[in-house]
């Protein structure tokens, strides 16, 4: 974005609902009334919050204050949501009682339906009816911008994920890396295992630990972006369809399965990474109650899986930190992690609905992805799970944009000009 810095990888917050111009925010109608005797305000509000709480409008202030000429203050209060047909007969009886006993004159007012995402939105909202504007209530840094150091670390982990997705040779797959931002370490990594349920042939190089790493080769993202461009222009080719989250039903047509290797339509990169982080969790913080049973079940149900796991454990790069953790964590149950609380995940492509919900279940803190998923993405493209209020956990979502000059170069080299 900034022309002076060609190496910039902008990190953009993907909010829980589509951004709209501040003056085009959705509104809902409420019934309000002026309070003629300011002394009664507290009594009225207390009564109303009991009989007509504004459940989905916590960001809306109950009382509006207008300064009239001569310094006089006029107060209005929201009585309740407006009845659907707009007919005041539909006002709840309890509220009618309040209207009657304080001789209020109800009128319809508009308030903004959703809490403001930005200061600009908030300023516009307050022109209708005052709302409160909070920085996001959950403790997730980055929504209001990243420090230089954080940005560097995020970009280097995204580059790590891009490298990972190249490790399948000619087949382009999605890749996921779960990161503990406190130690700046990758605690689990995975690629799609939809067509071959085994560990990737080429291992990614040295453990990525943030800012010190030099910029890796960019051919990976060039391939990704060019295949993405071809996909959106409608040319179906094997290389694009192999990205599980983009084409979840592709497994049905896949012809290249060898008898010897297991395949699994649901082993998308994020799902495999979660499995791997859970396995690490069990290894570092064993629970005697389950140990024997778990091992037995694993052998009976999926020999391929336990085999893959053994290979992974033999590999050296993911779990270098395990010994340190184990020595700290031994017998100290208070340090036992709860799922992926506090962890971030880096994905090359925006996850599909299954993967996005899996990340909610596993309590991931932040999701970073490089490329959107226009056919099945659940974090901005088709759905926005990060904005589903009913869910019991919410992560923050960011897109890390691959620099435009790199993409331009990719285009030029593809067309051969």
């Amino acid at each position: 974005m900034s022309s002076e810095n060609d190496d910039a990888w902008p990190i953009v917050h993907v909010p829980g609902r589509p951004p709209v111009p501040p003056e085009q925010q959705l509104t809902v109608n409420v019934v309000a009334a002026q309070i003629e005797q300011p002394k009664l305000t507290n009594t009225i509000i207390r009564r109303l919050s009991q009989i007509a709480p504004l459940e989905d409008l916590h960001h809306v202030k109950r009382v509006k204050k207008n300064c009239l000429e001569g310094g006089k203050i006029q107060l209005s209060v929201i009585l309740c949501l407006a009845p659907e047909n707009g007919d005041f007969d539909g006002i709840p009886c309890d509220v009618k009682d309040v209207i009657g006993s304080y001789q209020l004159s109800p009128f319809v007012a508009k308030v903004c339906k959703y809490a403001a995402l930005s200061k600009e939105e908030w300023v516009e909202q307050c022109k209708l009816w005052p709302t409160s504007y909070h920085q996001p209530t959950y403790n997730i840094s980055g929504i209001t911008g990243f420090s230089e150091e954080d940005s560097q670390s995020i970009v280097s982990f995204m580059k790590y994920a891009l490298e990972l997705s190249k490790s399948h040779g000619n087949v382009v797959v999605n890749a996921a890396a779960i990161v503990d931002p406190l130690s700046n370490q990758v605690i689990a990594k995975a690629c799609d295992e939809v067509c071959s349920w085994q560990t990737p042939k080429t291992e990614v190089g040295a453990e990525c630990s943030s800012s010190t790493k030099s910029s890796p080769e960019m051919t990976g993202c060039i391939e990704h972006e060019s295949c993405l461009q071809r996909c959106s222009s409608g040319g179906p080719q094997q290389v694009e369809t192999s990205i599980s989250c983009l084409h979840p039903r592709w497994w049905v047509d896949e012809q290249t399965h060898r008898i010897s290797s297991f395949w699994h339509p649901l082993r998308h990169a994020a799902i495999v990474a979660i499995e791997s982080s859970a396995a690490r969790d069990r290894r570092l913080f064993p629970d005697v109650r389950y140990r024997d049973e778990a091992t037995r079940e694993e052998c009976i149900l999926s020999p391929a899986k336990s085999q893959a796991k053994r290979q992974k454990t033999d590999g050296t790069d993911v779990d270098n930190d395990d010994k340190n953790y184990a020595s700290h964590g031994n017998g100290d149950l208070s340090s036992k992690p709860y799922l992926c609380t506090g962890n971030d995940i880096y994905l090359v492509w925006e996850p599909c609905t299954m993967c996005a919900m899996a990340l909610v279940h596993q309590r991931v803190r932040r999701v970073f992805y490089a490329f959107p998923n226009p056919s099945a993405g659940a974090l901005g493209s088709i759905h926005r799970l990060q904005g589903e209020k009913s869910l019991n956990h919410h992560y923050a979502v960011f897109r890390v944009l691959v620099p435009q000059d790199i993409l331009n170069k990719a285009k030029t080299s593809i067309t051969g000009s």
């Binding site: 649901l266 899996a358 019991n392």
Partner: protein
Amino acid sequence: METDNIASGERFSLEVLGFMQLAIDQAKLALDNLEVPVGCVIVEDGNVIAAGRNRTNETRNATRHAEMEALDVLLVQWQRTGLTAAEVAEKFSACSLYVTCEPCIMCAAALSIIGIKAVYYGCANDKFGGCGSILSLHSSSSEACISNGNSGSKSFKCCGGIMASEAISLLRDFYERGNPNGINGDQPF
């Protein structure tokens, strides 16, 4: 709750109730193992061919819901007998799932990726439900990008409210006892 179970004996066939009872047995098994009590069975041609129950506490993997467990059993089994992907897809498209609680958004998406024929569930899942409560993934097939129609997801028939009160009372039992590891799985309340 979206549906009530008062007249279940009249509304649902004995066959449906019988399979749901087996799913409830799986949920009880989960409860005995200190897991959120949700269970399921997969039925093909009137026969139960797989069963599953929640394993989120044991595995510390909050995605190990009953549905995922049961699907994994079949995927391994069918591949061992040498079925191709197309044959496996064909088989799934003739299978029904009976599960004690409405599939969550993740499982509903997984079931549409797998291409299951139908889902019968017990209680609704007001927090995470992917078959009508929060999202309606059973009815929203998408076929973007590729013309052969196998790129997106497949819709499936869905029917809820079967023996819902039994499913709910198991979940109540669990939360009254206290969740040992606190990994909530499909907690619908």
